[in-house]
Symmetry: C2
Subunit: 179 residues, 2 copies
């Protein structure tokens, strides 16, 4: 019993440097994301949001919000960073990657993260913090959770049969590639 306890204490002490190093790394990458958010604000390119994508301890993609400067409502920091990282990796997947974003992702960006499949997300500001400076991500979260027929932007289902023919066509192909 006693030797078990001593062994466990020794292991704990030995693993401490790794834990501290890992924590310092996490903070380093989050600070890089925050610096990008700051740069976007200085440049007046969009909202105060930055993001870096990390693989094997290295930044492989980055971005900050460019909605205003590029007239692109999808140019949120995470989307810009994901596109940059995928281009650099030559892949549409971010396997074994981590996403460091200066703010909790909005539903669009969270969706993009799920499609890219990284292994973890680190965020600085919460979506409640975003709401306090006028970014109402929570409205979009509510809308996505709501049924189609009660949403603020009305949605209509038409020509389902015609649209489905393309699905059948695609599904029957041997060469189809999933993503």
């Amino acid at each position: 019993m006693r030797s078990d306890l001593i062994r466990s204490i020794i292991l704990k002490i030995l693993s401490l440097p790794i834990e501290i190093l890992s924590m310092l790394n996490e903070e380093k990458f989050m600070k890089a994301a925050i610096a990008l958010a700051e740069r976007g604000v200085e440049n007046g390119e969009g909202g105060p949001f930055g993001c870096v994508i990390v693989k094997d301890g290295k930044i492989i993609g980055e971005g900050y919000n460019k909605v205003i400067s590029t007239n692109d409502p999808t140019a949120h920091a995470e989307i810009v960073a994901i596109r940059d990282a995928c281009k650099n990796l030559n892949s549409f997947q971010l396997e074994e990657c981590e996403v460091y974003t200066s703010c909790e992702p909005c539903p669009m960006c969270l969706g993009a993260i799920y499609w890219a499949r990284p292994k973890a997300i680190y965020f600085g500001n919460t979506k409640e913090d975003a709401a306090t400076i006028g970014f109402d991500d929570s409205m979009i979260y509510d809308e996505i959770r709501a049924d189609l027929n009660v949403r603020k932007i009305p949605a209509f289902n038409i020509l389902r049969k015609e649209a489905n023919a393309t699905f059948v066509n695609w599904n029957e192909r041997d060469a189809k590639k999933h993503y």
Copy 2:
């Protein structure tokens, strides 16, 4: 009472051509979205999804899924079409526009649509149809609805105070622009 009934019937008959025309227009634009989906399948560029954006009865932006061909997990039909339409309008908003998409939007695309703020969405296939050919949008819907601590991709909140300084900096600026 009787004259009211006759009046209402006459109004109904008079409005019929407008309703039929509107319905035909909706079908025309949905067919354009389906044709784009078909083109993407033929080219082998990604999944079987197409989208057009319409303003004042004219197509002002279009896209089809290019996830595979561009190595971009965000290159869904709706995102490609929104970026195209915004570029053509020179605006990050799609006011008074309609989105015609060959399939019910995934959470990422629905989020993008909310940020772009069109007035209506028309879709062909449902998300259940997408699931039958292997596109598991419903998993992402479930994840977005779930609390942070039970999601498949773990998320960690770090350096909130440091990240918040950028929000304060941005919020104090007179020149900040909302989107």
